[in-house]
């Protein structure tokens, strides 16, 4: 089973520079746990104690998973998961 995971520039230090890696799992949560085996430290950049990190966008194919089931979103063979850090900021 292979799910393609697209990694943004800033997280490629965890993937030896690769912009794309593969993983498996029935949900996003399982997928991230699977990736952690080969790319130690990556999961913590995506997930915190409350779930998906607030300023990290994760998409299943072209949908933001916040509008699906977050970490419990089911994933399957052939899916593409894309990670993009949110672009944000402000006065303070």
């Amino acid at each position: 089973m292979a799910i393609e995971v697209r990694i943004p520039t800033i997280l490629r230090t965890y993937t030896d520079g690769a912009k794309q890696v593969e993983g498996s799992g029935a949900t996003l949560d399982e997928l991230f746990t699977d990736l952690e085996q080969r790319h130690g430290g990556l999961r913590e950049r995506l997930v915190d104690a409350k779930g998906l990190r607030r300023f990290v966008n994760v998409y299943l194919n072209d949908e933001d998973v916040r509008f699906l089931s977050g970490l419990e979103t089911p994933v399957k063979d052939g899916d593409t998961v894309t990670v993009l850090p949110a672009v944000a900021g402000g006065t303070r």
Partner: protein, 135 residues
């Protein structure tokens, strides 16, 4: 150093003025590795706030995908401050996560003149850089 055409510089300023007092935000895309901004992409501020900005996540996905397909990258990420100086705030610094981008800050706090400054931000460190506007 940021080298930018007069046209793109003026488009950023016009966008910031038009959205004042909300913060305006957007991207200048350029060919990957070129470090030259070429294409202006105004982004929606999903926060619609005078003190915070955030790219709409769906729009960001589409724009990033288009850039990837065109072998482009975000050369400039810009946003405006509407009541404070054109300098990265603590949140600007902590959320900056495109290591190769030039972060342009514009301030519209003064009606008669717009501050336009550029910075590199990485690992929590901010370095201002000179801006060269090419006619």
């Amino acid at each position: 150093m940021l080298t930018i055409s007069r046209d793109l510089h003026d488009k950023i300023v016009a966008h910031a003025r038009a959205d004042h007092p909300d913060e305006a935000c957007g991207v200048l895309a350029g060919r990957a590795g070129s470090d030259r901004p070429a294409r202006f992409i105004a982004m929606e501020n999903a926060e619609r706030s005078p003190t915070f900005y955030r790219f709409d996540s769906g729009e960001q996905f589409r724009v990033w995908q288009q850039m990837d397909e065109a072998d482009e990258e975000p050369v400039v990420i810009y946003h405006s401050h509407t009541a404070t100086q054109a300098y990265p705030s603590r949140t600007d610094i902590s959320y900056a996560s495109e290591p190769n981008a030039h972060y342009v800050l514009v301030s519209t706090r003064d009606e008669d003149q717009t501050e336009f400054r550029s910075f590199r931000i990485g690992d929590g460190v901010v370095t201002e850089e000179p801006v060269t506007v090419v006619e």
